[in-house]
Amino acid sequence: MAVAITTAASAEARARPGRRRLRALLRRPTFVVSALIVLWWVGAAATWRLFGLNPYVNTGHINLAPGWHQLLGTDSLGRSVFARTLAGADTALLVGAFGCLLATVLGSALGVIAGYFRGWVDTAFMRLFDVLVVLPPLIFLIVVVEAFGASVPALIVIIGVVFAPGIARIIRAAVLAEMGKKYVTTAKVQGESAARIMARELVPNVLPTIVIQATLSLAAAILMTATLSFLGLGAQPPSPDWGLVINENRVYLESAWWSVVFPAVAVGSLVVATQLVADNLKEVWS
């Protein structure tokens, strides 16, 4: 029968799906550039200490323009803008990435549970999410930060809770689509447990959606972190956090533009690059 015909073609096809997608991604210039930018900032956050950069020390020159001596100039307190900009990736990525990770785990779990059980569980979760989703996130965040303080762990938890409902809704929709497929019914008929159906049958099949949502939320979470510190609710001086630095130096926009523009470019590039990575993943994956 057709066995002989399919084997030759499929041995190849099986080895590929992952690699084929990766190759498709690498052929997209927007993906390559954005991924490099993200990697650059991740690298900066992880390694700036190793290069002996000190974002806190006064170099002795105040508001020095970018040049040979100081690559990106110095700020009003004589600190190196270059060192501070690289070091700022630290907090942005710490809170953004872990907050987003928490949101993804929480949101996916709730979404899968709601989609699998439906009925009152689903209704309860979804109405709760409706409430959380209509709250203006920034105002909500400000209130919560005022109440619980602005430590890094607190920020991570808050970001996680704020972003989880949006992810949960999308994962739930993806799960509902999978639930219509007969492999789930078959697993039930075979007596598979609910937990195992969710973990082994459903999650692998909605994983692409989960990864895409995680990346999209990462961009939003980074922007949110920067916003909070800009408003003085996140990192506190003398932290080199981008949002905080932009706020501190915005009065010098005319006299020392470099102390504002470089951290702003940093936030912008990281957020846009992350978003583009997510977009590319979405297009290639689906």
Partner: protein, 536 residues
């Protein structure tokens, strides 16, 4: 009517870019269809039959390469047309009727408006278009035309939708009508009606038609000439009766041999152990969806090692019945299994397994065949290894490492069957297990099911809309009509003495579709293009 043949194709080659280099879908095809002739293209899925027909419309996915010495429809050379001419050609010379009428209609427009649009595009005024639409709806035997025109597609049945699509296709008075599996997915009764309608309209309007199908009896009954495609090559061509009764090519012979013979019954098996009583007793089973009863007061038994066939049109409640037995839906009434519970640890092992129609969705796309079978053996308390199970169910050992998307439809369904037989389950429900497959895969699967039953003594509830298929596997056949079990008797008896009018219509249409198989020499049309060949 012009004297040019409706279709004239010489040396057609169609290829497209595959993942690993170019794939030739159609190879060196020659095809001539006379005006008014009905031509049938048969072949299994992937044989290039749809590609060949769609080439006539020059509507193919980008990246498809088409070369031909000649490719003309009603005297127009299709390959040479520029964009505006191609538009005019598509609007006037030919029409296509697809498999899924529900997808061919715009869900946000009334069907009347959609037909009117075609007339308007051909230059009719508003009032004129409306009048013609009415006439067109009447012509496809839908009435009252005025009311039908005001309905939205979802308010019509599948058969009615397909009639509307046909009315729309004929609105442009085409010379050629391409019918791409027009009745797949419809009940056999509706299928007979639609095909009779098309035959009648062809006689009345004189268009030529190409009927594409994997259903050989259907093609034989409604086409004058048949072409058999295998792997993009036309391996046999001739008058319908000749091809069917005296196939020359081995591939055609294998297709015909694989047909479920309406007269074939399952050879009598050693009488099932009746001393133990039935396996399942169903009493007063009733299921309501809101107001509508999907099942009303259905009672029957399934014997041990018995195969109970269940036929009925879509919406008759046959799937709901299967779901109730599998415990997948709530119901009123009682279903009693006369078996001892098998337990493994604290868990009661399932008593029912289901083989669904759509093997595509019944396998988790991310789990290999081996993973699927291993887990099933564990869950159903089987005592065999994956290799033994695969061997018993004809799943080749080379398939074990594969993922579902690397399997053919028949292979997937085999894995689904293997999964159901992973442990000693007393009842297996087969819900249209072969409807999505071509005839040869279907024949192989039906053999497998019969063989598994002989070996394991399992009972089947075999659900299908195809009486011929049901007859091949079943000891008794039940007929569901509108949620009621209107007839239930031995398979033989259903055919010999159908009592209920619905059963009679089912049996009649099943026989009518396969009449062409019996030697009833249809007047074979001479393949010269002078005269107008007509369908009867």
């Amino acid at each position: 009517m012009t004297d040019a043949p409706a279709v004239q194709v010489r040396g057609l080659v169609v290829s497209y870019r595959g993942r690993s280099g170019p794939v030739t879908a159609v190879r060196d095809l020659d095809l001539t269809i006379a005006p008014g002739e009905s031509y049938g293209l048969v072949g299994e899925s992937g044989s290039g039959k749809s590609t060949a027909a769609m080439t006539l419309t020059r509507y193919l996915p980008p990246g498809t390469g088409v070369t031909a010495a000649e490719l003309s429809v009603a005297g127009t050379g299709v390959l040479a047309l520029d964009t505006p001419a191609l538009r005019r050609f598509r609007a006037g010379a030919l029409s296509v009727v697809y498999q899924e009428p529900g997808l061919a209609l715009d869900p946000t427009m009334t069907v009347g408006r959609q037909i009117e649009e075609v007339y308007r595009l051909h230059g009719a005024g508003r009032a004129q278009a409306r009048a013609r639409t009415r006439a067109a709806i009447e012509r496809v035997r839908l009435s009252p035309a005025g009311q039908i025109a005001k309905r939205y597609p979802h308010e019509l049945s599948g058969g009615q939708q397909q009639r509307i699509v046909i009315a729309m296709a004929l609105a442009s008075e085409p010379r050629l009508l391409i019918l791409d599996e027009p009745t797949t997915g419809l009940d056999s009764r509706v299928e007979t009606e639609i095909m009779a309608l098309i035959d009648g309209l062809r006689a009345e309007l004189g268009f030529a038609s190409i009927l594409i199908s994997h259903n050989l009896p259907l093609i034989a009954a409604h086409c004058q000439r048949i072409g058999v495609l295998e792997g993009g090559v036309l391996v046999e061509e001739g008058a319908a009766a000749d091809v069917l009764l005296a196939p020359r090519h081995p591939y055609t012979r294998s297709l015909i041999a694989a047909l479920p013979d309406i007269n074939a019954v399952r050879p009598p098996r050693p009488a099932a152990d009746t001393a133990q009583g039935p396996l399942v007793t169903v009493e007063h089973l009733t299921k309501r969806f809101q107001q509508k009863a999907a099942l009303s007061d259905v009672s029957f038994t399934i014997g041990r090692a018995e195969a109970l066939g269940l036929v009925g049109e879509s919406g008759s409640g046959k799937t709901t019945l299967g779901l109730s037995l599998a415990g997948l839906t709530s119901y009123d009434g009682t279903i009693t299994f006369h078996t001892e519970d098998r337990r493994r640890g604290r868990r009661t092992l399932p008593r029912v397994q289901v083989v669904f129609q759509n093997a595509d969705s019944s396998l988790n796309p991310r789990r290999s065949v081996r993973q699927v079978l291993a887990r099933s053996i564990e869950l159903l308390g089987g005592d065999q290894t994956v290799e033994e199970l695969a061997n018993r169910t004809g799943v080749g050992p080379d398939l074990l490492a594969k993922l579902p998307h690397e399997l053919s439809g028949g292979q997937k369904q085999r894995v689904a069957i293997a999964r159901a037989f992973a442990g000693p389950v007393p009842l297996v429900i087969c819900d249209e297990p072969t409807s999505a497959l071509d005839v040869s895969s279907q024949a192989r699967l039906l053999d497998l099911l019969a063989e598994l039953q002989d070996r394991t003594g399992v009972s089947y509830l075999f659900i299908s809309h195809d009486l011929a298929v049901v007859r091949q596997v079943s000891d008794r056949i039940g007929v569901l009509y509108d949620g009621e079990l209107v007839e239930l008797k031995a398979a033989e008896e259903i055919f010999r003495h159908p009592e209920h009018p619905y059963t009679r219509s089912l049996v009649d249409s099943a026989l009518a579709l396969r009449q062409a198989q019996a030697p009833s020499p249809a007047p074979a049309p001479a393949p010269d293009f002078g005269g107008v060949a007509r369908a009867d």
